[in-house]
Every structure is written in structure tokens, then in C-alpha cells.
């Protein structure tokens, strides 16, 4: 049995302090991202999540200039950007994507400037790399309280607003009719996404934090249709993927070509994508003909809910299923 452990875990794994820190911060980040991600996918806001991640590059680069913790930079700009996106606030998916892209472009433009200043004014030469690709193994323990605080806030938003969030993701009109402030709930969701993304930006980098946000959630939603279960499953899958990624990254220190280790962010992303692919290929098609209750509601029975869409085959752009 021990030979198996030796095979899987390179020597020194369990006793290494950076590894333990990585497991903790990575785990928290993945947990939060997975849970928040379930709603992101439900609301069709994967792009917004990605944009927020990219925009937090601005915050990260700014943090080097200002000498503050990168997580604060990420979270700060993330929250700010969420507010701006909400303000531009368009509900139609097409217009929303356009606005999201524009905000992202502006944010990245500013990031470009800040990174340029980073490299010329400060000594943080590898700032770009750290921000973009994460620094899971080089975190300092002082970041832990902040990580836990951000994670707690994001999870709190999801837990407290669970029902209004779910309802307004399904049908904004219905939620409004019930007295839910759809706009406020939407903003809260964006904030949760911003925080989740900041956390994963710290560990796997801004560019790849979308993987932790969207991947586990997408896989979970393939496995189950119940939203509560999906949220929990997504969080668990996220943690699993991250921890396995950490193990592999640690093991890879002896691998070619550099013998310097493959980036942990790569493993996390690769595992997530593989999981998604597997879920796609083996997952069920949307279920059909389940119960006459559905037929009573006048739904075009067994045929998949793409009924209006197949005439147009692939719908252009991202406005496909959500339509909200």
C-alpha cells in the first residue's frame, strides 16, 4: 500500500508547508468558485465571470504598484467592475455580452498600462506571470485570513439569497411578481462571482479562474438537475480537481523538460476540461417524456426543449438557452 502512496505523492508532499497552504487556499477558492459557479452557469453568465477575471488583472497589477496584497487588488477591481457591469445593466443576452466585452476591453487596457508601469517602475518583473497564471505554491501564510473572509462572504451571499437567486435565474418576471428585487439580486450574484473569481485568481491565475468557476458547475449540472445538489456537487468537484492538480503539480517537479514543475493551473484546467468532456459524452441528453404532468403544462412533450431552435440549428452567439 505504501508503494502506491509513494507513486502518487512525490516525497515530501505531506510535510511541505507551501503544499499545505496551497491545499488550503486552493481548496477554499475551488469550493467557493464551484458553488457560485453553479449559479453563473444557470444564469448564462459564464462570459461575465470570465470578464471579471480578466478585469481583476487590472487590480492585480495595480496592487503591485500600490504595494498591497494582490487579493485585495483582485477583489477590489472585481467588485468595482461588477458594479459597472450592473450599471450598464442590459438584460438582453446579446446586448449584455457586448457591454461585458467592452468593459473587459477597457479593464484590460488599463491593466496593460499598469503592468507596463510595474515592469518599468517596480522590481516586480514577473508580475504579469504571477497575476495571470497564479501563484499557488508561492503564497504567504498571511493571506489565509483574507482568503477565508472573501470566501465566507461569497458563500454567504449564495446561501442567504439562495431562493431569490434561483427564482430570478429561472424567470426574472416571475421573481419580480413575487416582490423580489431582481436587479439587486443580480448585482449580489455578480459580486459573489467577483469574489470567487478573485480567490481563484490568486491560486490559478486570472486567466484560468474561469475554469474553476464554470467547469465543475457545468459537470455537476450534467449529473443532476436539482439546483441544491448541483451547487454542492460543483463545489466538491472543484475541490477535488484542485487537490489532484496540486498533487500532480508537486509530482511534476521531477518531470521533463525543465524539472521545475508544470504549472498547477494547467493541471486544474486540464482536469476540469476532461471532466466536462466526459460528462458531455456520457451524460444524458435532456430527459424526455418524464411524466404526464409535463404534458399537461402544454409543453411539446418528448421532443427536447430545443423545439423552436432546431429550425435554426446552432443559434448564433451566446444567447442560446438562457434568453433572460
Amino acid at each position: 500500500m505504501t508503494w502506491l502512496l509513494h507513486l502518487l505523492f512525490a516525497p515530501g508532499f505531506f510535510s511541505s508547508a507551501p503544499v499545505r497552504l496551497a491545499l488550503l487556499t486552493g481548496g477554499v477558492a475551488a469550493l467557493v468558485s464551484g458553488a457560485v459557479g453553479a449559479f453563473t452557469v444557470l444564469r448564462g453568465q459564464s462570459y461575465a465571470g470570465h470578464a471579471l477575471a480578466d478585469i481583476s488583472v487590472t487590480g492585480g497589477s495595480g496592487s503591485y504598484l500600490l504595494g498591497i496584497s494582490p487579493l485585495l487588488g483582485f477583489a477590489g477591481t472585481g467588485v468595482l467592475a461588477a458594479g459597472v457591469m450592473d450599471m450598464i445593466g442590459i438584460r438582453r443576452p446579446r446586448g449584455r455580452d457586448l457591454a461585458t466585452g467592452i468593459v473587459r476591453g477597457a479593464g484590460l487596457g488599463i491593466a496593460a498600462l499598469l503592468l507596463y508601469w510595474d515592469t518599468t517602475h517596480t522590481a516586480a518583473a514577473g508580475a504579469a506571470v504571477t497575476i495571470l497564471f497564479g501563484s499557488m505554491f508561492t503564497l504567504s501564510p498571511t493571506v489565509v485570513p483574507l482568503v477565508i473572509a472573501c470566501g465566507a462572504v461569497a458563500l454567504a451571499i449564495v446561501v442567504v439569497l439562495y431562493r431569490p437567486l434561483l427564482l430570478s435565474s429561472v424567470s426574472a418576471d416571475l421573481a419580480a411578481a413575487r416582490g423580489i428585487r431582481v436587479r439587486a439580486v443580480g448585482l449580489a450574484c455578480l459580486l459573489a462571482i467577483a469574489l470567487a473569481v478573485s480567490l481563484s485568481a490568486l491560486t490559478v491565475g486570472t486567466i484560468l479562474s474561469t475554469a474553476l468557476l464554470v467547469g465543475p458547475a457545468a459537470i455537476a449540472l450534467r449529473i443532476t438537475r436539482r439546483p441544491g445538489l448541483a451547487t454542492v456537487t460543483a463545489a466538491l468537484i472543484g475541490v477535488a480537481v484542485t487537490w489532484v492538480g496540486i498533487v500532480l503539480a508537486y509530482d511534476s517537479f521531477t518531470w521533463p523538460p525543465q524539472h521545475d514543475g508544470w504549472p498547477v493551473s494547467f493541471f486544474v484546467v486540464a482536469l476540469t476540461f476532461t471532466g466536462y468532456l466526459l460528462a458531455q459524452l456520457t451524460g444524458r441528453r435532456p430527459d424526455r417524456g418524464r411524466g404526464s404532468a409535463r404534458r399537461a403544462a402544454g409543453r411539446p412533450g418528448g421532443q427536447s426543449a430545443r423545439e423552436p431552435a432546431p429550425l435554426a440549428a446552432a443559434t448564433p452567439g451566446t444567447s442560446a438557452p438562457a434568453g433572460r
Binding site: D97, I102, A112, L208
Partner: protein, 270 residues
């Protein structure tokens, strides 16, 4: 700023802007913002991989851009479109991260690939960029009517023999080519702003599709020129000016729409 060594930058900037205006017009019309954003970022991984194995960067860009477009199209049909795009994008970026970790000197190269380095374009690179531009523009103009029909009324198009899935694929391929050739100039992260800011502004100014496309090109070229000039003067990255400039275009367009809507008397009911 018109010295010989800068001429390359001006020429390339103009070519890139024209392509961005033409292709971007349809990106905005079809609401393909996310996809058009994802493909260039994925292409970045190709560039990283290409430099690793010693192949031309443009080839690496092109291969990954095309592969990304195809995978997104395939996965998008099987599941949710936005999730498919996000994950494919991130996978390619992850591969890029991997490739980059294999090389030793990468900091400035990443920066250039991500944010653009227009001032360093050599004359030998102009030809492939121009060739790619011609291919894209000709393709878009040849597909103009079916693509427009399929974007507006896909079912009607399907009834006339214009399959929406085929047009989507063709369009994605054009986006892939357009972004891979423009990427070295403005950078993976910002080519997108050049593609959506100007058309978003143009659509507010005119209601005719052909005129809107022409206007997109004009605004894109203006934005590109201003960005190059400003970058030269301040030494700041071109991407900064393009990103912020794109947002200004968009905001200007929306402001104009709001202002002229407020001035126009209410239309008579049907």
C-alpha cells in the same frame, strides 16, 4: 512619428483595423461577443507553443485559433454555448501556460502576445498579415447576404437552403483567421475591443447594414491610428489605447442613440 521604422506600424495598424471593422460588424450583429473573444485568447496558446518548437508564431496562432473555433462550435452544439466557449478557451489558455512554463525567457514575450507590440513589426511580417486580411475580407463580402440572412432570421434562411450551422462554422473560421493575424499587433486580449467597439458605435449612427459596415471600418481605422500615435508619444502599450478607446466608441454610440431617441417624436402605432 512618420519615420521609416514606424511605417510598418502604420501599415499594419490600418490593415488590422479594416479587417476588425469588417469582421467585427458581424460579430456584433450575431451577438458572438464571447466567441470572438475566446478564439484569440486560445490562439495565444498556439503562439506560445509555436515558439517552443521553433515554428513561426503566426502558424501557431492560426492552428490554435482554427482548432479553438472548431471545438467551440462542436461542443456548443452539444451543450450550452457559453459554457463550451468558456471551457475551451480556458483549456487553450492552460496549454499556453504550460508551454510558457517550458521556456525560460517569457515575461516580455507574454506581454507582447497578450497586449500587443505594434512597434516591433518587421517588414517580412506585413505580407502574411495582408494576405490573411484579404482572405477574410473577401470571405465576408462573398458570404455577406447569406450570413446576414442567417443572423437575422435563421429559420427563413434554413428554408432557403442557408443552413445556420454551416454559416456559423464559416463565420467562426473567418474570425479565427482574422484574429490570428491581428493578434501580434494588438495582442490577444485586446483585438477584441477593436472588433466590437467601432461596430457598436457604427450601428448607432446608421440603420443601413452596408453603411454600418463601412462606418465600422472607418471608426476602427481612426481608433487604430489614434492608438498608434498615442503609443508612440507616451511609450505606453497600444493595447491600453485600444481598450479604452473601444469603450469610448461604444459609450459614444450609446449616448448618441439615447440622445437622438429622445429628440425623435414617438412613432405612430401599427
Amino acid at each position: 512619428m512618420f519615420q521609416p521604422f514606424m511605417m510598418n506600424a502604420w501599415v499594419v495598424a490600418t490593415i488590422v483595423a479594416v479587417v476588425a471593422g469588417v469582421v467585427g460588424f458581424f460579430v456584433v450583429m450575431r451577438g458572438s461577443a464571447f466567441v470572438a473573444d475566446a478564439v484569440p485568447q486560445g490562439a495565444f496558446a498556439g503562439a506560445a507553443g509555436a515558439s517552443l518548437i521553433g515554428v513561426s508564431t503566426l502558424v501557431g496562432l492560426g492552428v490554435f485559433a482554427l482548432a479553438g473555433a472548431l471545438v467551440i462550435g462542436w461542443l456548443g452544439r452539444r451543450g450550452r454555448h457559453d459554457v463550451a466557449t468558456a471551457l475551451t478557451l480556458v483549456l487553450m489558455l492552460g496549454l499556453g501556460a504550460l508551454f510558457l512554463s517550458f521556456t525560460t525567457q517569457y515575461s516580455s514575450e507574454i506581454f507582447a502576445l497578450l497586449f500587443g507590440e505594434i512597434l516591433g513589426i518587421s517588414s517580412s511580417e506585413i505580407l502574411p498579415i495582408a494576405a490573411g486580411a484579404v482572405v477574410c475580407i473577401v470571405a465576408i463580402m462573398a458570404m455577406y447576404r447569406p450570413l446576414l440572412l442567417s443572423s437575422l432570421a435563421p429559420e427563413s434562411g434554413a428554408a432557403r437552403g442557408v443552413k445556420a450551422s454551416r454559416m456559423e462554422l464559416l463565420f467562426l473560421l473567418v474570425v479565427a483567421v482574422a484574429t490570428s493575424m491581428t493578434l501580434p499587433v494588438v495582442g490577444a486580449l485586446l483585438i477584441f475591443s477593436l472588433m466590437i467597439g467601432p461596430p457598436a458605435a457604427a450601428r448607432s449612427l446608421t440603420s443601413s447594414p452596408l453603411r454600418a459596415m463601412a462606418l465600422s471600418v472607418v471608426i476602427a481605422v481612426a481608433l487604430a491610428w489614434v492608438s498608434v500615435a498615442a503609443s508612440y508619444q507616451t511609450n505606453w502599450p497600444v493595447g491600453f489605447f485600444v481598450g479604452v478607446g473601444g469603450a469610448v466608441c461604444y459609450a459614444g454610440g450609446r449616448g448618441w442613440s439615447a440622445w437622438s431617441a429622445a429628440r425623435r417624436p414617438a412613432a405612430a402605432p401599427a
